[in-house]
């Protein structure tokens, strides 16, 4: 392990996409994010406008992470639609989705194919409404993956949901809007719990906790229970405020739009680490006028106690971080807080949010930031920085394996372990778990490397 003070003033290097091939992508495509965000609304089903493959691949990918049913419809383009436009298929797809699923909302996101042939989806949806007289809400997000990845697709759908559905202006309600990035069901539940600790209702958008980490059933549900209700989404402009935990870079922010409609926005980082969680807790306290609940005070204290127990083992440890911008930025803050070094921070996202977020850190905090990157480049960054450990999705497994260093699985996707949805990353509680895992992964490395081993820390 090298000394943390060594590179204090070196400027942060910034690398971006290669001019040619992407090898082992560190991003999925935009409709995946849009489909996932849709699962956070009660009774909603996503429909991808384009050929069948995209929807099926996306389902398979999400199912392998959440291990839950995840239905994504497709307008199933053939050659004719590709040449003449997909209006008929979109109409038939909507008819069939309504007949089979009886949804409360259908979201339509576009695949590259539909975008390339230039289908005007809002126009087609209007014509469908007029033709059928159906009043069912339809929300559309443009998600061309030749521009955006899953992170931006997720944000685009949340923005579209707010734009189309959060329209109820009126008397203020005692609620706080919470706009999380792509986090785990366990995170969503804990975020809800934290807000509820301040005696206000939480309107979480999206909230797929119960749909993508659901109970066993004896009768199948076309659309599983759970998700944020449409009436609650409608009431978002009347909330006390929105707490926005996303980093959207150049893209529009849902919370900004909500602010224009009446609910002021607070844009915070994902609450991982003591300081970042404190910021969220203080915000809630200010907004609600309520004090911190005792259980949160206790959790904070226990986290600090854990820090004291384990600080020596993580100090100076160099960590390679990769994943969605919100996670990487928050984890970098957490690592710095405990004296570890995030030597590189990498994301496949293309929205510039990560370099922007890291720019505010003191010089020397992070050696290199890679955005719009792939695992080939992350592998090269590992060669340059020789991290002691990697933190990120399961897609870094082969890299960690080849380097002989531990991988701490966090975020999305986790395809090679059980319980991805149950991983808690946020709050004091989630941080405590992360800290324990980090310390233990490093200890395991030492134990494995020692010829004599040890029986006590």
């Amino acid at each position: 392990m090298s000394c943390a003070a060594a590179k204090e003033t070196a400027p942060m290097v910034h690398s971006s996409a290669k001019p040619d091939a992407t090898v082992n992508p560190c991003t999925l495509c935009a409709p995946l994010g849009a489909a996932l965000a849709t699962a956070g609304v009660r009774g909603a089903i996503p429909l991808l406008h384009g050929a069948q493959g995209c929807a099926t691949y996306i389902r398979r990918y999400l199912i392998s992470h959440f291990r839950e049913p995840m239905d994504v419809a497709s307008s199933s383009f053939g050659e004719a639609q590709t040449v003449f436009g997909g209006e008929d298929n979109l109409g038939r797809a909507l008819d069939n989705v309504l007949a089979q699923y009886h949804p409360e909302l259908v979201t339509v996101a576009t695949t590259c194919l539909a975008e390339t042939i230039g289908d005007d989806v809002p126009l087609l949806l209007n014509r469908y409404r007029t033709r059928t007289g159906n009043a069912l809400p339809l929300v559309h997000a443009a998600t061309p993956s030749y521009k955006d990845g899953h992170v931006e697709g997720f944000h685009a759908m949340v923005y579209a949901l707010v734009k189309g559905l959060a329209c109820n202006q009126g008397a203020p309600s005692r609620a706080v809007n919470l706009l999380p990035p792509l986090v785990s069901p366990a995170d969503l539940r804990h975020l809800r719990e934290i807000v509820a600790g301040f005696d206000v209702a939480a309107i979480v958008l999206p909230d797929y906790a119960d749909r993508l980490d659901g109970v066993i059933l004896d009768r199948y549900r076309a659309l599983p229970d759970g998700g944020t209700r449409l009436v609650d989404i409608a009431s978002m402009p009347r909330a006390l405020a929105s707490i926005d935990l996303t980093l959207t870079g150049r893209a529009p922010r849902a919370s900004k739009l909500l602010a224009e409609r009446g609910a002021p926005a607070r844009v915070l980082g994902l609450p991982i680490g003591v300081r970042a969680t404190d910021v969220m807790i203080e915000s809630l306290s200010e907004l609600t006028g309520a004090g911190r609940p005792a259980w949160l005070v206790g959790e904070r204290g226990r986290l600090l106690d854990a820090y004291a127990d384990g600080h020596k083992y993580v100090f100076g440890a160099s960590v390679g971080l990769y994943g969605d911008p919100e996670f990487v930025a928050a984890l970098a803050g957490f690592l710095l807080e405990i004296g570890a070094r995030p030597v590189f921070c990498a994301t496949g996202a293309r929205n510039r949010a990560l370099p922007e977020a890291l720019a505010s850190l003191p010089a020397g905090s992070v050696d290199e930031v890679l955005d719009d990157t792939d695992f080939e480049s992350i592998g090269a960054a590992c060669e340059r920085h020789k991290p002691d450990l990697l933190m990120g999705s399961s897609k870094g497994y082969r890299l960690a394996h080849a380097l002989g260093i531990p991988l701490l699985r966090v975020g999305f996707p986790i395809h090679d372990r059980l319980g991805a949805g149950r991983i808690l990353h946020v709050g004091y509680r989630g941080t405590t778990r992360l800290f324990d895992e980090l310390v233990n992964a490093l200890l395991q490395g030492r134990q494995d490397a020692s010829p004599v081993g040890f029986s006590y820390l």
Partner: protein
């Protein structure tokens, strides 16, 4: 049935009835909005060529199509592992507007220089088919310069079904076959078509043929190597396992090189024995046949006692299956019957008219047979047919589990080899541990109405 079948899909579902075989409306593009379990044409081409481990596989298109197929199959290699990386030209807006040929060429040149593959396959995805990149021209140019075959595989997702993708892959293989020197190939020799070495299955089968004194010239495409494929025209016989994907190739090789083919399956002990005997018959060698007999009797003696024990444990269990191709379904029905398990629900993504007639013939009365089904249909039939164990792929798994029904992966991500005699045993064990796990007795579907306090866990 607890839900309404979509009108467009009514002719794609039948209930087996001994009084006659019904024709199924199949082999067509999925109904829009139905939530098909199928992928696309591109996927068909990609899965067939995927296991060729010393070739570069470059997906020309936006990043997603490649990202979703990264290391997606458990196709093992005994050497190089180029097939386990995911290469994409990652087209951006600029390419969509101005064309992607330049980026494709730059990607090919860099990756070939970096990885020194023995051949390169370039897969076109949907938007490539729309913006009109001249992929074959780029491939030709690079091929001439770098001296390895650079083969376009144009099976854009919207052009037909997965089957059309298989055909495109067969076309790509035909470009390689016949370009190598096959003079040293033995007279007793075969190609194995349609085995993808998932969990090492090609190795199991290869071992049998080696023991019989039959040379396996190439496996298409499990643990595949470009140079072996180039010599494939030297084999005496093609044995075709995944007939759904590989029949076009077998037919073309028969026409072009006069190599006859037989359809076989290595799934289940009956099918495996039959495959080995029928291959031996075609080798014109009493020695080969003698060895085949010895092998089969030794292996059957070895696995039979445990298979019998599994059968006893599984008596009366009911199975459902939903698989890619019909030939796999036939084998599964037979193998399950051997284990005393009856198949009450069977379906495929890509079956043809004739294949569905055969499926109806091998299935019992009242079996529900579905083509290109969807999650809601599957869920309804699983409950209605009171299935104990469902066999399918990743996308089917959560449907079974959500209902508290056992599930076995029979797709390309599994880690257990199911081919040959040892595979039959592995399959029996897998079905047994799945169907007889004590956890199912706790599930609401089994406890409801059984007088437990918590009949419904919700």
């Amino acid at each position: 049935m607890g839900f309404d079948l979509l009108k467009e899909r009514r002719a794609q579902v039948v209930r087996n009835n001994r009084s006659g075989v019904v024709s199924l409306d199949c082999n067509k593009v999925s109904a829009a909005g139905s939530v098909s379990q199928r992928a696309c044409t591109f996927c068909g081409s990609r899965v067939v060529l995927y296991p060729i481990a010393d070739a570069l596989h470059l997906v020309h298109g936006p990043v997603g199509c490649a990202a979703y197929t990264w290391d997606i199959r458990g196709a093992l290699s005994s050497g190089p592992e180029l097939h386990r990386i995911s290469c994409s030209t990652d087209m951006r807006e600029r390419e969509v507007v101005f064309g992607g040929e330049q980026r494709l060429e730059a990607s090919l040149r860099r990756l070939i220089a970096q990885h020194a593959p023995r051949a390169a396959f370039v897969y076109g995805t949907c938007i490539v088919g729309v913006i009109g990149d001249d992929v074959p021209a780029v491939c030709k140019r690079v091929e001439t310069d770098v001296g390895i075959p650079v083969i376009p595989v144009l099976a854009e997702g919207f052009r037909g079904t997965k089957r059309d993708g298989y055909n495109a892959a067969c076309g790509a293989l035909l470009r390689l076959i016949g370009t190598g020197d096959a003079t040293a190939v033995k007279p007793q020799s075969i190609n194995l078509l349609g085995d993808f070495n998932v969990a090492g299955e090609s190795w199991i089968i290869r071992k049998y043929f080696e023991e019989m004194g039959v040379e396996v010239v190439s496996v298409l495409t499990g643990d595949g190597r470009v140079d072996e494929i180039r010599r494939a025209h030297g084999a005496r016989l093609n044995i075709v396992q995944c007939a759904g994907s590989m029949t076009p190739l077998a037919k073309a090789m028969q026409e072009r090189y006069g190599i006859p083919f037989i359809r076989v399956s290595f799934f289940g002990i009956e099918d495996t024995a039959d495959a080995l005997y029928r291959t031996a018959e075609r080798m014109d060698s009493p020695d080969v046949m003698g060895r085949a007999r010895a092998l089969v009797s030794r292996e059957i003696t070895r696995v039979l006692p445990e298979l019998r024990a599994c059968k006893d444990a599984l008596a009366g269990k009911r199975a459902g299956l939903y698989v890619g191709g019909a030939f796999k379904a036939f084998s599964l029905v037979r193998a399950l019957r051997q284990l005393g398990v009856s198949v009450v629900l069977a379906g495929t993504q890509t079956g043809s008219q004739e294949e569905y007639q055969e499926l109806q013939a091998v299935c019992d009365e009242h079996t529900v047979i579905v083509d290109d089904t969807n999650p809601l249909e599957l869920a309804a039939f699983l409950v209605e047919q009171d299935v104990d164990i469902f066999i399918g792929g990743v996308k089917e798994r959560p449907i079974a589990y959500k209902l508290g029904i056992g599930f076995c992966d029979h797709n390309h991500e599994r880690k257990i080899a199911l081919a040959g005699f040892e595979g039959a045993l592995a399959f029996a064990r897998e079905v047994r541990v799945t169907a007889t796990s004590p956890i199912w007795n706790l599930m609401p579907r089994r406890t409801r109405g059984a007088g437990t306090a918590m009949g419904d866990t919700r």
